[in-house]
Symmetry: C2
Subunit: 199 residues, 2 copies
């Protein structure tokens, strides 16, 4: 691996972290390299810089495409594929979270719903526990879907506010007693066990 020290450290770190992020070392390093590169890179350039086998790089790029984390580019008079990461970091983060949700959360949510439907009446405790878990995940993913629809600028605004948002809400509640802000409705649900047990 022949890279400037900064790049080298960054790439190696992403390789190590890869395993914790559900991708492997190769994929992490390829992504890191692309992330730092202003110009799109082709597979052979990646091979040169990271020293993996050609086929391994090919696999890695394929996986990054499956994650939708890289963009394909082409140069005039050159039919090789060139790859980049999106310039906009928010686009990257959104993709990352979407993909992880799809892989790590959605299957479980489906399974929980399925279990609840097919469930007999045995073991009320386990059933309640599963129901509560499902409701919690629904609350969280519902909130996420909602946030995900916001424009980036609005999103940054909210994130910067942090918990100070509380003040805005309570201020609003006293000044303008609207219907939202207090825990209520959420249309219909089985209500078998409330996810928001205040403890």
């Amino acid at each position: 691996m022949k890279l400037p020290p900064l790049h080298q450290e960054f790439v190696l770190h992403f390789g190590e972290m890869g395993s914790r992020w559900g991708i492997n070392r190769t994929v992490g390093q390829i992504y890191a390299l692309l992330f730092l590169s202003e110009e799109p890179l082709n597979a052979d350039q990646i091979v040169d810089q990271l020293g993996f086998s050609r086929s391994n790089v090919s696999m890695g790029l394929k996986e990054l495409q499956a994650w939708n984390l890289v963009r394909l580019r082409h140069k005039p008079d050159d039919r090789r594929d060139y790859f980049t990461t999106p310039e906009d970091l928010w686009e990257i983060v959104r993709t990352l979270v979407d993909q992880r949700k799809k892989r790590e959360i959605d299957p479980t949510l489906s399974k929980l719903r399925e279990l609840q439907l097919g469930g007999g009446d045995a073991d009320p405790y386990a059933q309640a526990r599963i129901s509560e878990l499902r409701q919690m995940i629904e609350l969280l993913t519902g909130w996420y879907d909602d946030m995900n629809r916001l424009e980036t600028e609005r999103l940054v605004q909210l994130l910067s506010l942090g918990s100070r948002i509380q003040k805005v809400i309570s201020a609003t509640e006293t000044v303008v007693p609207l219907g939202f802000g207090t825990r209520k409705k959420k249309s219909s649900d089985d209500g078998s066990n409330t996810a928001g047990g205040s403890k």
Copy 2:
């Protein structure tokens, strides 16, 4: 594995998902079993129900304790260790997110800061990219730390509001033109590259 069908499916699912969640099958299954069990279980009971070796269960429980995901209990006249998961689901979610942040985010944030300090002046693009990434992570983790300080009830309130929070903010801004709600300050920062590029 001798379990009621509901339990069995749930446990197997958590085992499969385990690998996507950065834990292994054994650990996932043990956790799932404890999650569904009203009564605390000891290691031998887990061995009986899941059919792993005694030592594997011991390792798994140790890992769950390292993640702080199980609680240790004792029964009178019985010196074996019994394990449960917290009754309060929010406590579980908070622990889970905390731990994943600690393992998956914090090391990278440290590394990015370190790279920025030690960085020479070569490759301005890569430097800017790293700085931008660091700022983005700081924004997100800062927001998270903030939210994490809220009581559960407040948290649920905010989550239920979802993006309708926008309305509250804009309403507040027009009615009571406060200082927050508009993007500003965040005390001091290097400002080398703004994380909130609107686009």
